[in-house]
Amino acid sequence: MRPFTYLSAPDVTTALRAIATEPGARLLAGGTNLVDLMRQDVERPTTVVDISTLPLDEVQELPAGGLRIGALVRNSRLAAHPAVRSRYPVLSQAVLSGASGQLRNMATVGGNLLQRTRCPYFADGTAACNKRDPGSGCAAIGGFHRGSAVLGTSEHCIATHPSDMAVALVALDAVVEVQSLRGTRRIPLAELHVLPGDTPDVETALDPDELVTAVELPALPVAASSRYRKVRDRASFAFALVSVAAAMEVADGTVTAARLALGGVAARPWRAHLAERALVGAPATEEDFRRAATAELATAVGRPQNAFKIELARRTVVATLHQLTTEGGAA
């Protein structure tokens, strides 16, 4: 690991000033991703700004009925929060699907959103990677790409975003609050992560001087009937091949409301608007679920090793929606 200056920020303003003035500064919260990447020489900060003791670690009720989740709320606290478990069970399940008990005790909400891809070539300094080293090429295309993306890819990058939590959040219409010395702004989570295009090194809509301070969930009655389903190579402690966050209401056999997002398939948590449109107003049958999933996956591009993800995603959508109709949500 390269040497760096360590700064423990006593307040938000100090942290904002550090990232606004030091081009090589990186924010450190739980450290589960950044410390690992620093050890692998992928991240090379000259200043590490420790924000882990800032007072951004509360979950609060919003007046309009939603929740405000501080950026430094630990993953384990978020998943165990009574309001999340009863009103947004898909979020609790998604968080509990990720990593391990120890990592969830360390990792924060903000860090989870901003974690980097687990594409093996990104962490391998000897491999071509346009995300780590712009212009060097993509070793995953033509190399090992079983876990790579099938939606929203480009000829420059087929990496996925690894978060489970973000897949649930994007289905729930979450909004991210960010602060800088210039002020505060709110970004829909669906717009936080950007697709690779020809600049896969640009991963989010954040400016370098911005700090994620909170994530807000709107009041969303349909979320009470929601589930997260993750398909992976082993039963636990593995990243998703495909995952589905779903919330649905059915009345008299007809879908009246639906929220759907896919994980493990794109550089962003993938909100499935096309499938939602196909679902609402249609009968709640497996045949209709399959039609909706197919509409969403029409633009998917599979490669030799990961083409299976398209059919796997379709089947996982159908299975998750079917489970919602037969067993209800996970609360």
Partner: protein, 181 residues
């Protein structure tokens, strides 16, 4: 260099540390507490699990400077020869290890996991998330301990040992384990 107050197993030490030093290396190389093991050093195996303010974390991904003033417990702080922690006793009784390299991480992790379960924290295999209490079934233990790998494959013994200490499995609690025969 940074001065850090490390409070480990009830003893406080002031140490000068390069901020790059992980909590794991500080424990092992500065405080000579080598019970905590370095396995993968990248957050994938759980061998370095310690407790911070009673919660289990991975010491390999923790920079020591971030943990100044926090109450850290390592396997050395759980029990000692002649006065073992109930989980240490149970790991011996139920053959919860073979080579032993993952064992301190397994035991620290189990201590933290049992506290999480007592506090009503659900897992992804919990059938109803809104329920306040869930029985600690074998499936729950295996899921909640999935961050601790055992290369010898002593998982059956590990699960039996944890179930015994949790007092949830009458069969395991009343079985006559090999070590006692």
């Amino acid at each position: 260099m940074a001065e850090v107050e490390l409070r480990v197993n009830g003893t406080s030490s002031r140490v000068q540390l390069d901020p790059r030093v992980s909590l794991l290396d500080a424990l092992r190389e500065r405080l000579r507490l080598t019970g905590t093991k370095k396995g993968c050093d990248q957050g994938a195996c759980g061998a370095c699990t310690v407790l911070v303010d009673g919660e289990r974390i991975l010491a390999c991904l923790a920079l020591a400077v971030q943990y100044g003033g926090r109450e850290i417990t390592t396997v050395e702080g759980l029990g000692r020869p002649g006065r073992l922690h109930p989980l240490q006793e149970a790991f011996i009784r139920f053959d919860g290890f073979q080579c032993g390299f993952c064992t301190s991480g397994q035991i620290c992790s189990a201590v933290g996991m049992l506290a999480e379960h007592r506090a009503g924290v659900p897992s992804v295999v919990t059938p109803r998330l809104a329920a306040t209490a869930t029985p600690l079934s074998e499936a729950e233990i295996r899921e909640r301990m999935s961050g601790n790998l055992c290369r010898c494959g002593a998982y059956d013994g590990i699960v039996d040992a944890i179930q015994h200490v949790a007092g949830v499995d009458d069969r395991a609690a009343t079985a006559e384990p090999a070590a006692d025969r």
